[in-house]
């Protein structure tokens, strides 16, 4: 089960090397995303796309809100 984190915790984790992943559509990502985030839309999460992430570093996922 993923850890639920807030904005402050996100900033701490990113400062320590966590990888940010926006799971919204590519279009929404192109318009606005958090600094340093990469785009992997939810339907596209698979072994291939996940291979672009470092499995040894924390991963943070986000979308628009708590949905």
């Amino acid at each position: 089960m993923a850890n639920l984190i807030d904005r402050g915790q996100l900033q701490d984790l990113v400062a320590r090397g966590a990888q940010l992943v926006e799971v919204l559509s590519a279009k929404e990502y192109e318009e606005d995303h958090l600094p340093g985030a990469r785009s992997i839309p939810l339907p596209d999460i698979n072994r291939e796309s996940a291979a672009s992430l470092d499995p040894h570093r924390p991963v943070i996922v986000y979308c628009w809100d708590s949905a």
């Binding site: 904005r7 600094p35 996940a50 991963v59």
Partner: protein, 167 residues
Amino acid sequence: MAPRAAARLELLGFTDVSHYKAGKLDWMAAGLPTEGENAARPRAGTVARKDVPVCSLTDRVGDVRDRARAARWDAAVAVDPNRIVLGLLRAGELAKDADMLIEQAMRPGPSTFRPYVPIKEMADYMTGHKLESSPVTTSDGKLVGLLLKSDAVKEAEGCPDCVRKMI
């Protein structure tokens, strides 16, 4: 959506996955920078004036008026010690009796707007509702600045595509 993404990544072998539950809206509502096509476009938070005078509920109208005038302002925002917006004083409120407490003189609980709102939308809203100024706050109510209608309209004229597609 993000919880499912987190679950999927865990099934793919990632052992340290976190979910930023409040998401992009929370980030943008805090007035934090973003990257992307819209990042450089004006929004409520970027156009709002950060140097608006602030005061506390126990200040006197006369003192706040003097400070505001010295800074060439005819408005001030009443905030708590954490800069959470409690009230707004435009020219009419600042013209009240000098000995009156801000708590009695201010407009309590003014409408506030989040920093990410596109400037064209703000300009249209403020024009339609005859708002000369509005506080812009983070999602937890902290003052970012005071947005003047004149500034919003001017910026919107230079950015006709700054509309709701941004959020």
